[in-house]
């Protein structure tokens, strides 16, 4: 059984990382890939270009706050933004199941076009494949994108004391999808946070020297991304539970579902690691951006060389937060 690919290999957590290391890095390894960033940084002539790709298989394909089309554009744009790039051009590869409703395809395509246009991105090339019924589930989309790195932005080394900012409430996307997948009959304002993030970068122009790095915490949630950052930097991370922005409804549904919101995907949020002495200013600046009013400083890097992430609650209780392991399955007790 251990020689077969399991669903957990695609959840963005420990198993995905293992697969990437054991298979993809082994065969593809080069200095650009091994940086392990959300987007590759390419030096072509005098230009520094960001390049990335992402594939979307979300079920259901339409959900409150978005659809697979919008998500596929946002996902790639946001990966480019995390390396300080202005997204410019995208490709769109679609695999469609035989029998798929043409009207739905039009709707998804229109949604992609609208999202790209709002973000100032052009979809300039594409590919279509149709496979027999059952070979894929409805529609899968791949997008790749390139962007121009702004003001020669460089990812910088993390130091103890550096602060971590999240740009809005967490777990909105994954919770919305879970409600749809488990067909929960709950009332409440549940919407995916799926949004292009370039707007944030524009506001932060003056602070780019103080931003160590940026990540978008999609699959595996902020817990998994922060664990990667701890390992990458070689320093531990302390999070303050009361500072982590989460809407009450979202927290309640996760409690009910037996899921931990720290592991639930965001699709319109960014984690930024910033210099401590500029962290308040940067936070204030981010909070001026629409959709980012709930941004908070959620914790910081420790001098401790053990790359653990722990969370501390309002009465001092501590708990270690690990990367997502295995498939995310509702806890029953």
């Amino acid at each position: 059984m251990d020689n077969a690919i399991k669903l957990c290999h695609g959840n963005g957590g420990k198993d995905t990382m293992q697969l990437i290391t054991d298979v993809f890095y082994k065969h593809f390894l080069n200095p650009i890939l091994s940086q392990g960033l959300d987007a590759a940084v390419l030096e072509i002539g005098k230009e520094r270009i960001a390049f990335t790709t992402d594939t979307f298989v979300v079920k259901p394909i339409f959900f409150p706050g978005g659809d697979i089309g919008k998500l596929s554009v946002c996902g790639t744009i946001n990966d480019l933004v995390t390396v300080g790039a202005k997204p410019l051009y995208m490709s769109c590869g679609i695999i469609i199941e035989e029998g798929f409703d043409l009207e739905l395809l039009k709707k998804i395509t229109a949604s992609m076009a609208e999202t790209a246009s709002l973000a100032g991105v052009k979809i300039v090339t594409g590919d279509t494949k149709v496979v027999e019924k059952g070979a894929v589930d409805q529609i899968f989309i791949n997008t790749s994108g390139i962007g121009q790195i702004q003001d020669n932005y460089q990812v910088k080394k993390i130091h103890p004391g550096d602060q971590i900012i999240v740009t809005g409430t967490i777990a909105e996307h994954g919770t919305t999808i879970a409600i749809e997948q488990y067909k929960l009959k709950v009332k409440g304002n549940f919407r995916s946070d799926c949004t292009p993030l370039y707007e944030i970068l524009k506001h932060l122009e003056d602070y780019m020297d103080h931003i160590k790095l940026m990540r978008d915490p999609t699959r595996g949630g902020i817990a998994t991304t922060l664990n990667e950052l701890a390992v990458h930097s070689g320093y531990g991370i302390r999070l303050l539970e009361k500072n982590i922005p989460i809407r009450k409804e979202v927290a309640a549904i996760n409690e009910l579902l037996g899921l931990d919101p720290l592991y639930i995907a965001c699709e319109g949020r960014m984690l930024l690691v910033v210099d401590k002495d500029k962290s308040r200013e940067i936070l204030h600046c981010i909070q001026q951006v629409s959709n980012c009013r709930d941004a908070q400083i959620i914790g910081g890097f420790l001098t401790d060389r053990d790359p653990y992430v722990y969370i501390e609650n309002s009465f001092g209780g501590r708990k270690i937060i690990k990367s997502l392991e295995g498939e995310m399955i509702p806890r029953i007790c």
């Binding site: 059984m1 609650n313 309002s314 009465f315 001092g316 209780g317 392991e325 509702p330 007790c333």
Partner: protein, 352 residues
């Protein structure tokens, strides 16, 4: 949440308790909450919390998982169950592993969804693998009654429902001196009544506190046990969950449960076979019994894994004393309850 009060109580616990005090939180929901609130990290080393046998996923036997896997060998079966049970292995494989072999496994939140699935898939046999304790049993019983009332003929229940008092007696009979207090689950008491856990004090003279699942509830329970241990003569049995628990519990829930189930003996993973510790379906509901429909017998398995779960569960031995720890038994492939539960003694040890 009153953080100041919580902090003050923790200070008092740590100030008061200067002798080794092992408190067993009986139930998996408490174990989870203790981990979530980081309560262990706040207590001094003298006050130790032992995770008890009340995590239904953890104590479900290998033979039950294997029975579910065997049922899935029939092509027209949809197996439904609760959450993280699918990750736990039987003798060789987990239910989740069966999905790779194109078997249909669905994770549900209530057994009533299984009834709906059965009604919408009349050409399939739908099996609900039910695990849980006295809290879950009335819900399963009521789903079985509804299936009978609606005459749904393609739904079957594979039940691994367990009872708390027999396993607690089993533990206390063997190792009373190692446990100085018990935190009893508020939700089980809400169904069965405050009186259900009184035997811990009456028969074993050990402090027992019924508690809810908020940080304040659990710290209040630890405080009560520590008070009682350090002040001989104080009351040993407390119900700190009066907002939900009555003396005799929930009459309707108990009646429903007794109508459908009868007491039987069963195997507990890592612990062994315990007399009268489980619920099985009465003959009048036999048509819904998956074991009968698929002609499977649950046979007690030898302790194949050679785990020391029993000793570790009781805090008599440390996880590292077990031959399987870290080699044959790791969080990704756990063998016993102490590794299956993320807050179990072995899983915590492995992590830190």
């Amino acid at each position: 949440m009153d953080e100041n009060l919580i902090s003050r109580m923790i200070e008092e616990i740590n100030g008061l308790n200067k002798q080794e005090t092992k408190i067993m939180e009986v139930c998996g929901t408490h174990t989870y909450a203790i981990g979530k609130y980081g309560i262990r990290s706040l207590l001094n080393p003298e006050t130790q919390l032992l995770s008890g046998p009340g995590c239904p996923v953890c104590v479900t036997s290998e033979s039950t998982i294997d029975a579910a896997i065997k049922i899935l060998e029939n092509d027209n079966v949809i197996l439904t169950t609760f959450g993280d049970l699918v990750r736990v292995r039987g003798a060789y494989e987990s239910i989740l592993d069966q999905r790779i072999k194109s078997k249909t496994v669905k994770i549900l939140y209530t057994p009533f969804e299984a009834l709906e699935i059965a009604q919408n898939n009349k050409d399939k046999l739908v099996v609900f693998l039910a695990v849980g304790f006295e809290t879950t049993a009335p819900v399963i019983a009521s789903a079985i009654q509804l299936a009978q009332k609606k005459n749904i003929l393609n739904i079957y229940f594979l039940c691994s429902l367990k009872l708390m008092p027999p396993v607690l007696k089993f533990i206390l009979d063997q190792n009373r001196q190692h446990i100085h207090g018990m935190i009893c689950p508020g939700h089980v008491a809400a169904v069965m009544g405050e009186e259900y856990f009184q035997f811990i004090e009456q028969e074993y003279d050990i402090p027992a506190v019924i508690a809810g699942f908020e940080a304040m509830d659990i710290i209040g329970a630890i405080y009560t046990v520590v008070q009682s241990r350090n002040n001989p003569g104080t009351k040993k049995f407390e119900n700190l969950y009066r907002r939900s628990v009555r003396i005799h519990g929930n009459r309707i829930a108990k009646e429903t449960m007794n109508e459908v189930f009868e007491v039987s003996s069963a195997e507990w993973r890592g612990i062994g076979y315990i007399q009268d510790s489980a619920l099985t379906m009465k003959a009048s509901y036999a048509q819904f019994d998956a074991l009968k429909r698929f002609n499977i017998q649950l046979l007690p398995q030898p302790n194949r894994s050679q785990c020391m779960c029993k000793e570790i569960l009781l805090g008599i031995k440390k996880p590292t004393a077990c031959n399987m720890f870290g080699t044959g038994c790791i969080p990704e492939h756990p063998l016993g309850p102490c590794m299956i539960s993320s807050e179990g003694a072995c899983a915590s040890y492995y992590r830190y």
